[in-house]
């Protein structure tokens, strides 16, 4: 979808995207010639249709599709995929008794970000369990490599 400022015959530029409000996005475009602004207000069906493409709406550079969701500032717990993850063994264990916390190094977290959002919580929990089982309180790249080897990957 494109917007044209008719008096200027100039394509309008996306300026801001408001946070989702009950399924609606508020997307502001402005004319670079005259500065006139309009807002496109989507209904829930329009928001969902774009979201289903796995693309990001916004003026900033597109992120990787696996990290992108319309209106979600960050992947992970708040992402739409999170609801696809059932209560895993770890999650259930977490409700009964909290396991020891496991830290992630920045490099290991960067690798974790490569996991598609919908399986990321499960991958994270499984790797932390592997780390704990091996007496480690921190997940680093060495632990990730060890887990790959252990699981025959």
């Amino acid at each position: 979808m494109k917007f044209l400022c008719v008096p200027c015959d100039s394509p309008m530029k996306l300026q801001t995207v408001g946070p989702p409000d009950r399924g609606s996005l508020s997307i502001v475009y402005s004319c670079p010639e005259c500065g006139y602004e309009i807002a496109m207000l989507t209904n829930a069906y329009e928001t969902q249709a774009v979201q289903s493409l796995g693309v990001r709406i916004g003026p900033e550079a597109p992120r990787r599709s696996s990290e992108s969701e319309v209106g979600s500032a960050d992947a992970g717990a708040g992402c739409p995929f999170a609801s696809m993850i059932p209560a895993t063994e770890d999650a259930q264990r977490g409700q009964v008794g909290e396991p020891a916390p496991v830290r992630w190094t920045a490099a290991a977290e960067a690798r974790l970000a490569k996991v598609p959002a919908f399986v990321r919580p499960m991958a994270k929990a499984g790797i932390e369990r592997y780390a704990r089982d091996n007496g480690c309180s921190e997940v680093d790249e060495k632990i990730l490599e060890a887990a790959r080897e252990f699981f025959g990957m």
Partner: protein, 296 residues
């Protein structure tokens, strides 16, 4: 006044560019795969998943590098059958590693992620209208899987498709002309009729139709050590419906194989049985069809 195609870009989000980038990541991720084969039917319950897994096993036994992508997100069965339920996905330095079966077949199945007591669900802002967006969302998910996981150098990536003749064609569209199709039917005229529709629909596109496999082609009675009929395979004139593509083989139904599938045991445990020999024959036919050159 300018028209749509007079304007470069969409003013900010670059939706088309993002979609193109997704497609590029998929293409890059599959660059090392020699053959893409989708196992479909149109009809449900004909044994697509069972055949996919056991043909993969038979080809793996020949030394081929094989992976399976269980594309039936809503009814995944490969995780249980391949023994990778609850498998761990570990991120590597570049992509995410895939779980493997004991005989080395890489498997992605939503059944590894979602317990059988749970249903695949997507958060939606348009409740009650999933028919308008669900298929798009599922194909977007398929794209993420293809782009994010480490398929690496493979001889064969097999897609275990969901039922539905229209879905089969949608997968052909999404996966592109590189993907060949192997269709599965059973000797029931109802099933063959649905598969015939899939053949007709796929024939309109660029994808290669490798042939079909007739599954449940009789019942293997262990007591009698004989194959007995399960279906009457004929039309009103007593002729089986012509699917107009090559038949790569017939596979009898064996309750022991079904038990193996439920428990995640490999076909190698059933080597010298009619069903084992039949699957091995189909695997060889499939291989010969994919790679007819003697250079193999």
């Amino acid at each position: 006044m300018k028209r749509y195609h007079d304007i470069v870009g969409d003013g900010g989000s670059g939706i088309l560019e993002q979609v193109a980038e997704q497609r590029s990541r998929i293409t890059d991720g599959l660059a090392g795969v020699r053959h893409l084969v989708a196992v479909g039917s149109g009809k449900g319950g004909v044994g697509k998943s069972t055949l996919t897994l056991h043909l993969a096993g038979a080809l793996r036994a020949r030394g081929l590098r094989i992976a399976i992508l269980d594309a039936d997100f809503n009814g995944p069965s490969q995780a249980r059958m391949a023994g990778v339920q609850g498998a761990l996905f570990v991120p590597g330095s570049h992509k995410v590693s895939l779980p493997r079966t004991k005989n080395g077949i890489a498997v992605f199945s939503m059944g590894s992620v979602i317990a059988e007591s749970e249903a695949l669900d997507f958060e939606s802002t348009a409740s009650g209208e999933s028919h308008t967006w669900r298929a798009t969302r599922e194909f977007s998910l398929l794209g993420e899987i293809l782009a994010s996981f480490e398929w690496g150098a493979l001889d064969l990536l097999m897609f275990d498709l969901p039922p539905g003749a229209e879905r089969t064609v949608q997968y052909a569209d999404f996966l592109g002309p590189r993907t060949s199709f192997l269709l599965v039917t059973i000797p029931s005229e109802v099933a063959r009729g649905v598969v015939a529709r899939s053949v007709a629909a796929l024939s309109k596109g660029p994808n290669r139709l490798l042939g079909y496999v007739e599954n449940m082609s009789g019942y293997y009675c262990r007591d009698c050590d004989a194959i007995k009929p399960l279906f009457v395979s004929s039309d009103a004139q007593g002729r089986p419906a012509d699917l107009k593509i090559p038949c790569l083989g017939t596979v009898p139904f064996d309750p022991e194989l079904a038990r193996h599938c439920d428990q995640g045991f490999p076909l190698a445990d059933l080597p010298n049985t009619p069903v084992g020999r039949a699957l091995d024959h189909v695997a060889q036919q499939l291989l010969d069809t994919l790679e007819p050159e003697p250079s193999r």
